[in-house]
């Protein structure tokens, strides 16, 4: 039996005594498409930050592909095959789009420690970055500065930077938020092209948006998991309705 892509047990995170994540346990097998639902402030992003190693858990254990990463740094976890996007866009605004993707590619290469070798001369790197931009439909904007692109383009660049790392476990934090219906369809189609062996966990707070995407849905509220199951189960569960209508 292969280890799950992600296994979280008894995870807690407190902010100044207030729990943002409370006793969360979940298991995501390799290749699964998991949707993480819940209203604003439910603790979804905090859970991602704990999994990615942005800050340590107050209590609990995290395993990625069977390896206990609870004490590992964010960059070490990334080298195990994890990648993520951010809900709040964190790109390099003064650099071009292709340069952003190159920085993403560089993160996994030994070249990142080389003090002499000019990265502009590594043409294969830039070609690869352009091909990844093509994947998300941004090839024509490769030389544009991030600051001069639209919100939807930035969101797609976020995804491109995560894809550049060829992740085995991909965490997407509200990739559809703030997009027009057209852009949303583009991103949904893009997500469908990701190979099936890549495990994806996607956060969304709008219930109707991304149900089609998910094999399993986890609903969070007040830092806890309230419902978990396949689409039919979650939709039928009265607790789901409570989360979405009860406030």
């Amino acid at each position: 039996m292969t280890a799950p892509a992600l296994e979280v047990t008894g995870l807690h995170r407190f902010f100044g005594g207030l729990p943002a994540v409370r006793d969360v346990s979940m298991r995501v097998p390799v290749g699964e498409r998991r949707l993480l639902l819940g209203p604003n402030g439910a603790g979804k992003t905090t859970l991602f930050n704990l999994i990615a190693g942005d800050f340590p858990a107050s209590r609990g254990e995290i395993r990625i592909f069977g390896e206990n990463v609870t004490g590992k740094t964010a960059d070490q976890r990334t080298h195990l095959g994890m990648a993520r996007t951010y809900q709040i866009i964190t790109l390099f605004p003064k650099n071009t789009l292709v340069h952003n993707v190159v920085i993403s590619l560089l993160g996994l290469l030994k070249l990142r420690f080389n003090p002499l070798s000019d990265i502009r001369k590594h043409t294969a790197l830039w070609d690869e970055a352009r091909s990844i931009l093509a994947l998300v439909g941004l090839e024509h904007l490769a030389e544009r500065t991030v600051a001069d692109t639209s919100y939807g383009e930035k969101r797609r660049l976020e995804i491109a930077m995560a894809l550049a790392q060829k992740p085995k476990l991909l965490l997407l934090d509200e990739p559809l938020a703030g997009l027009s219906a057209d852009e949303r369809r583009d991103v949904e189609r893009l997500l469908q092209t990701i190979p099936r062996d890549v495990t994806i966990i996607m956060i969304e707070h709008d219930m109707d948006v991304a149900l089609a995407f998910a094999d399993v849905i986890t609903v969070m509220q007040h830092g806890q998991i309230v419902v978990e199951g396949n689409r039919a189960e979650v939709v039928a569960d009265p607790k789901t309705r409570e989360v979405y209508l009860g406030h």
């Binding site: 990615a52 190693g53 942005d54 740094t73 964010a74 960059d75 990334t78 080298h79 990648a83 993520r84 951010y86 964190t90 790109l91 390099f92 003064k94 650099n95 340069h99 920085i103 993403s104 560089l106 993160g107 996994l108 290469l109 070249l111 990142r112 420690f113 080389n114 003090p115 002499l116 070798s117 000019d118 990265i119 502009r120 930077m161 790392q165």
Partner: protein, 333 residues
């Protein structure tokens, strides 16, 4: 940044040509010595700029590397009987090791904490130099004729010594400009702008900053060795906070994160210090005034400031025509 680099390379060539021609243009030893001081200060400022400009790590302890390398160069060759080349190599090597230790300590913090640790470490060194008189000569400092004679060239000649230091400046410009575009330099700039994102992309931000810190310390040590050769003397002043602050001033005045900003800043400070101090005794005050003026009128530093000015000059005709339209309308209403 990438597009500007060809223009920068041309500028560098012009600057180097001008520097090479310097001794023909000014024949007085006095001015050649000032040019030499500028070159040494420029190497130190460029190395600090690796931290401040490209790393976003503001250090107030960069005199540490200048001072320690200068003390070691002089001590080894005048008191320990080590040859010129040996002294220089040991001084640079040991100072780089010191940068490894200081970087390890200072990078436990960031921002203001980092600044305070570099400041404190520098003050400790200054205290040692001042107090441990049996080794350092205390307030009297250390001195002796230590300029080497590489390949039989007499470096006591100011022009020859100027060219000697110029070789190191050219090397510094070349290798630091490469560093800026290298994998490590790009990682450093990413860590400056988005440290969290960089970690998530697989970068060990701490290690990248530490390696860059050591790289900066190495070039600080080169400046220190040249400083020792130039003055043939070193005192606690080389390690003093004002030396660190002056170096930071050069970087900020010239333009952080630009290749040539620190060189311009170094020229400004050294010229003010030497030329103006002949006429005005309170030259530090004048330096303060100049600095305030730069902060007010060119907060980004001289080099980026001039670039901005040139661009607004180019756009002036179009924008002033536009600007006059609403004004004319106002008058009619």
């Amino acid at each position: 940044m990438i597009r500007a680099s060809r223009q920068q390379a041309v500028l560098a060539l012009v600057a180097i040509a001008a520097l090479l021609a310097m001794p023909w243009l000014v024949t007085s030893d006095y001015y050649i010595n000032i040019a030499t001081q500028i070159v040494i200060a420029a190497i130190l400022a460029m190395s600090l700029n690796v931290l401040v400009g490209f790393g976003g790590m503001i250090s107030l302890g960069h005199a540490s590397y200048l001072g320690v390398a200068a003390y070691l160069t002089i001590y080894l060759s005048t008191h320990a009987g080590v040859g010129a080349l040996g002294s220089a190599l040991i001084a640079i090597g040991a100072t780089t090791l010191l940068a490894m230790l200081f970087g390890y300590l200072a990078l436990r913090a960031s921002g203001l904490g980092f600044l305070m640790i570099t400041l404190a470490l520098g003050q400790i060194l200054w205290g040692i130099a001042y107090r441990w008189a049996s080794l350092t000569g205390g307030d009297n400092g250390l001195g002796g004729p230590i300029r080497p004679r590489p390949f039989g060239i007499d470096l006591m000649n100011p022009t020859a010594f100027f060219y000697f230091t110029l070789i190191f400046l050219v090397l510094a410009v070349w290798l630091i400009s490469r560093f800026v575009q290298s994998g490590l330099g790009q990682s450093l700039q990413g860590a400056r702008d988005q440290p969290r994102r960089m970690r998530a992309l697989g970068y060990n931000v701490w290690l990248i900053q530490w390696l860059s810190f050591v790289f900066a310390g190495f070039w600080g040590a080169i400046a220190g060795m040249l400083y020792a050769y130039y003055h043939q003397f070193v005192s606690p002043q080389a390690l003093h906070l004002t030396t660190s602050a002056e170096t930071l001033l050069m970087v900020v005045a010239g333009g952080t994160g630009t290749l040539f900003g620190p060189v311009v800043g170094a020229a400004l400070v050294v010229i003010l210090k030497n030329v103006v101090s002949a006429y005005i005794t309170r030259w530090l005050m004048l330096l303060g005034v100049v600095f305030v003026a730069i902060v007010l009128f060119m907060p980004e530093g001289i080099v980026p400031g001039l670039r901005r000015l040139r661009e607004t000059m180019k756009m002036r005709p179009a924008s002033s025509a536009e600007a006059s339209l609403p004004a004319a309308e106002e008058r009619t209403t």
